[in-house]
């Protein structure tokens, strides 16, 4: 896993930090902060993309503003050896936005969005009725959820010189 870790320097970190907070930050503002030329920043930005460190820039949207009023996560317990089968089933449900095999309290962790509580409940019942599903625990997300892209630690990547 250490192999995947890539070295980046102070300029790269300044670029990433700025874009994490606001992906539309001007190259010239980042250049000023780093005390290098705009060209250098553009070159570095492209290199971060090329190296696959930056996969894309995107907007952060509130799903509730786009017709999906309810967000929930399901913790699902399934019969032994049926995790893949249940995940495949979950991924076919249009409301399901994300599903993963989990290690710990539960077997599968899923995030779903729905237009209303009724629709979410229908999804829950559908999951529950799957013959390999033992238990579904639901948590409905309330209030504005918080996102903090700046909390990724980037600095340790710089220290490991050798």
């Amino acid at each position: 896993m250490e192999m995947a870790r890539q070295k980046i320097d102070k300029i790269d970190i300044t670029i990433l930090r700025n874009l994490q907070r606001d992906a539309r930050t001007k190259y010239s503002d980042i250049a000023k902060q780093s005390q290098v030329s705009v060209d250098t920043i553009i070159k570095r930005y492209r290199r971060l993309q090329k190296r696959g460190i930056i996969t894309k820039t995107t907007l952060l949207l509130d799903p509730r503003r786009f017709g999906d009023e309810v967000i929930a996560n399901f913790n699902i317990d399934v019969e032994p050896q049926s995790v893949t089968e249940v995940i495949t089933f979950l991924e076919k449900q249009p409301n399901v936005k994300f599903s993963t095999h989990a290690m710990g309290e539960d077997d599968i962790f899923t995030i779903a969005t729905a237009r209303n509580m009724n629709e979410m409940n229908n999804l829950k019942e559908k999951i529950q009725s799957h013959n390999m599903v033992r238990e579904v625990k639901t948590s409905i997300w309330v209030d504005q959820f918080l996102l903090c892209p700046q909390n990724f630690e980037l600095e340790p990547l710089m220290e490991k010189k050798r």
Binding site: R21, G52, I53, K56, T58, F98, T138, S139, V142, F152
Partner: protein
């Protein structure tokens, strides 16, 4: 989100948040000022919460994601809002939400390895008002919907 133009703006910027307003204006055959006005309105209304860069977590040294589900004991001094504020300031915690159901708060954190996961668990456990933590680790580089959840 009201107009078809708003939808277009959101669509383009979701794919590339750095796309210039001038380019969007050209594609949609509107003026750059119109695009800027619409964009500002989308920000003011809260439809757009911001923009960010999506990084490949494995490339920056993370092995996976952990979900922490937390039960709290709130009092007059320590409300769930206080606890949320403390949590979201912790390094490596990238999503936090209050929940109704089995637990009170859900956190998603990026983790370097098992040891790091244990350290984060302990740090969360030390926060005042936190009664119980149950957690799951997701293996591999999971892509959640970046436009909603960063990763």
């Amino acid at each position: 989100m009201s107009t078809p133009l708003d939808k277009k703006i959101v669509e383009y910027l979701t794919e590339d948040a750095r796309m210039s307003f001038r380019k969007i204006a050209k594609i949609t055959e509107k003026s750059t000022d119109t695009i800027i006005n619409h964009y500002n309105r989308l920000i003011e209304s809260g439809d757009i919460r911001g923009s960010t860069v999506v990084v490949d977590i494995e490339k920056i040294g993370y092995q996976g994601i952990a979900a922490f589900e937390i039960d709290i004991t709130s009092s007059d001094d320590i409300t769930s809002d206080h606890i949320m504020e403390t949590l979201i300031k912790m390094p490596n915690i990238i999503v936090a939400t209050k929940t109704v159901g089995e637990h009170d708060i859900l956190l998603l954190a990026v983790i370097h390895n098992l040891e790091h996961y244990q350290i984060i668990s302990e740090e969360i456990g030390q926060i005042q008002g936190i009664k119980n933590i149950s957690s799951d680790i997701w293996s591999g580089n999971k892509k959640i919907l970046p436009k909603y959840f960063i990763i």
